[in-house]
Subunit: 290 residues, 4 copies
């Protein structure tokens, strides 16, 4: 794996009711304590009166120790500005688990980026309900756990998964064409931390066999959608979508083939944004910073 | 208007059960009678075993008089090959009526192409349920008829429309953001001859206010779909679709604005294919020749 | 024309060497004087150390009279932060002239938006080197001046154009497929205020007949590029580009036809951004705010 | 690797001067000898008067032995119709070599498809001028040969490559971000059988460092182009191109990152078309059948 320079920055993702001066207050707090701002992007939803911001700053000369920054924020700003925020530190890469079933294209796309050092993440665990893709995990030397979950044993098998996720200290989960619906309990434990790829331009063709449905309907575009998983099937906050043009000549097999390229790219774009801590959710929608 | 060279070709659009030798038989018929083939495109749906073809040939030296070609086809091929076909002649441009309500962007896009001579069509009539766009019709010197149709007077007002369509000898109708649902009777009279533009990537966001629904759902792409009108709302054969990327920054007004450009281009592409007689419908889907 | 609510806002477009606290200083100046910020977008080019910002605020309760805001900026910030900035007021719409030759598609696209009230702009003048499109100007009731400029009389004919531009109090110029190269003097007078549409994805196919060149080269995509005109042919700051897919089946005529739709949309997007004062130029590139 | 059903078809790729009846003659030849046509697509370049066709038929009940089909074609049609054609048989998969340098994204994308059985091809050999990617070849169990070619030893090192290509019985070569220019001799030996990926939308940004050039020029789109290699640098017949939108916020590193996804998809699309024998070249352009 490519060696990457160790990062040492803090990332603040926040939203709050829009009031004058919020940017000034936050940026002055950082500047005054010796933090060098490396990234600032903000967005105001003027219709709903909500202010969103992502700011990232260098901690090398920052006057407040990392473990105390959250206290300061809490005390100084959280109540006063009604902040909802998440503070994280890039010195510790997030740990990601991949759930797969039998299809390898998304898995390969993720692992190829990982091994090339494109992403600041650790992938210590792959879970599958089938043994088929163990060969891929082995190629990359990543532990592969088969949890033969199905509709009749979901509760106990998910408990097995929870144990694995805890043991491997997993921060977030990527469903890379994992063909099982998660339980409500599972979803609630990993709120905004499970990324799925659905093989249609949602909200068209929710549920099973979207390429068959697309073929049947005679659409001229097919799509793919990555989203956070919520308890409503295929209805969580959309992170990224893209489409490819098809024609009457394309069979269902052609749609499946063209769709694979869409799925892997759209999923990887979403995963990258999550790794970069550039996504905020609000009202079942996402703010994705550039 | 730009003067265009008078065309004199025959266009055969056909489909039939796929059997060996159909192309050979049809092209030899044309060649043997002195017809110079200017265009031939064919497509075999091997899953359903259907053969589709569009062939166009020069009539200048064709040995069979135009008015007898249909008889020959009927006698020689129609039964033998179970052909479903449509034979048309480009020497007589089709006559198109435009239905509008209050929005002008699609209407302008169509009329600008028409006046520039881009399309081999005649547009003798614009019908609206509101007087607002008479000013646009007047700019281009095209008769504009207000038929104040609403849900309570639809049957009698559609009769007024039928009379207008008959009087102006209309071949097909374009609904250029016409905000009324046509009756079943109307739709059946103009089967595969009414082109609508819907402001979403169907089948997502069927029905009213798709941009509001798209905003609500938080999609990252919005689309537009042109289709032939059938008695199922927004469910007819799709001719053309396209999308444009949006972000969390886009308000509903932004979607409406970005959508307008999509709508007009997607509708005009579909109208052009119809004018060129390049669309076949089958099983509620379209074959669109290039 | 659709009646639009009169706007009364100030727009500040600025760039300067990146230093901590600039956003805070500017937004506090606005907030402290009772200005309600309606839009703020900023971007830091961290490689070159340049800070870019666009901020727009409501003047209705702003404590400083409009005519004095510039003085305040100049005194308080311009030197201290080495600002390069432009302050403008939306209460007075900009005045735009369109230059055309013989092709109508871009002209119609612009005028249809104008007449529908999509843009906060005035279009009091169309200039052409040919009389062909007078009919379009007449449709929309806009003065049309023929200035029969060619390579041998460019200097004196441009003088005629300068007089027209002055008489009609023109702020900026749109070359809507105007097939003449402007003199250096002309370009310098309207620095960053002349928008051109070139019918290729620049820098490919600079100069004349790009569709012929694209056909010859066998590309699979054709494009269009809108840019500010500089004294280097087709080399000014790019505002917007887009492409459309083509195949081996497309003739040069097909490219021209498909290209027309690209050209008009790409040009109109650029013109809209300019009207909205959302474009900054720097180092022969543009920052285009969303 | 996924097991695929053995194919047994013949593929004819041909072009010739356009004359009436060619389709009929060829299809009758196939039908009359018991061949079931599985695919037929044709295209007439009416400007240059050239007819192009790809036809594929089932050999299972074909009356002429495979090894004699070429003789028949030669005798019956080649001279009479001035055919330029290539006849191939799908029962024997083509053998492909991949040339790489240090970047892995295209290589992984190809090998992931290969191992999943997406392509009817064999990949027995990877050649590189650096040892870096041996680890990837080892993951997939494919022989990896380092040929430390540089500008001063090109002739002798290419001889080593020729020997390897011969020993492994290679049919065609994919340059998957191979950062060396091939000699004229090399290119001529593998005419229309070397596929390269160039990281720009050619003909823009020919040569080295196209992302730097794109950044410098301030384009709003970046692209990738796959093409057959000819002796003119980056000027061979284009097979496939695509683009992705960028903004002023994107640094050169961002372009490189966004470009990687383009490069791998565009290259793989081209390789797939080549494997499927769906590409004809003519006049330094490609006809790519769908």
């Amino acid at each position: 794996m490519v060696e990457k320079k160790k990062q040492n920055t803090a990332v603040l993702l926040m939203h709050c009711p829009d009031k004058p001066g919020i940017i000034a207050v936050i940026t002055e707090f950082i500047n005054a304590n010796g933090g060098n701002i490396l990234y600032l992007d903000q967005y105001v939803d003027r219709i709903n009166g909500v202010f969103y911001m992502r700011v990232e700053w260098d901690l090398d000369n920052f006057g407040i120790p990392s473990e105390k920054i959250n206290d300061y924020f809490q005390t100084l700003y959280a109540q006063r500005y009604e902040l909802t925020y998440k503070l994280s530190f890039t010195s510790k890469p997030q740990r990601m688990a991949i759930f797969v079933s039998k299809m390898s294209h998304c898995l390969y796309d993720i692992l190829a980026r990982y091994i090339a050092g494109e992403w600041d993440v650790e992938i210590p665990l792959i879970i599958s309900n089938h043994p088929d893709l163990k060969i891929v995990a082995d190629q990359f030397g990543i532990p592969f756990e088969v949890v033969p979950l199905n509709s009749s044993n979901k509760i106990e098998m998910e408990q097995v998964e929870f144990d694995l996720l805890a043991r491997y200290d997993i921060d977030f989960i990527v469903l890379a064409r994992y063909m099982q619906v998660l339980s409500e309990d599972f979803i609630n434990r990993y709120h905004d931390r499970i990324i799925n790829i659905h093989h249609s331009f949602l909200p068209a063709f929710v549920g099973a066999k979207p390429y068959h449905a697309a073929y049947q309907r005679g659409v001229k575009l097919i799509g793919a959608t990555s989203h956070y998983v919520t308890t409503d099937l295929d209805a969580g906050p959309i992170i990224e979508q893209d489409i490819v043009r098809i024609t009457h000549k394309d069979t269902i097999d052609d749609l499946v083939k063209k769709g694979r390229d869409l799925e892997k790219i759209v999923l990887s774009r979403a995963v990258e944004k999550h790794i970069q801590r550039k996504i905020l959710t609000y009202n079942n929608k996402t703010v994705v910073f550039s």
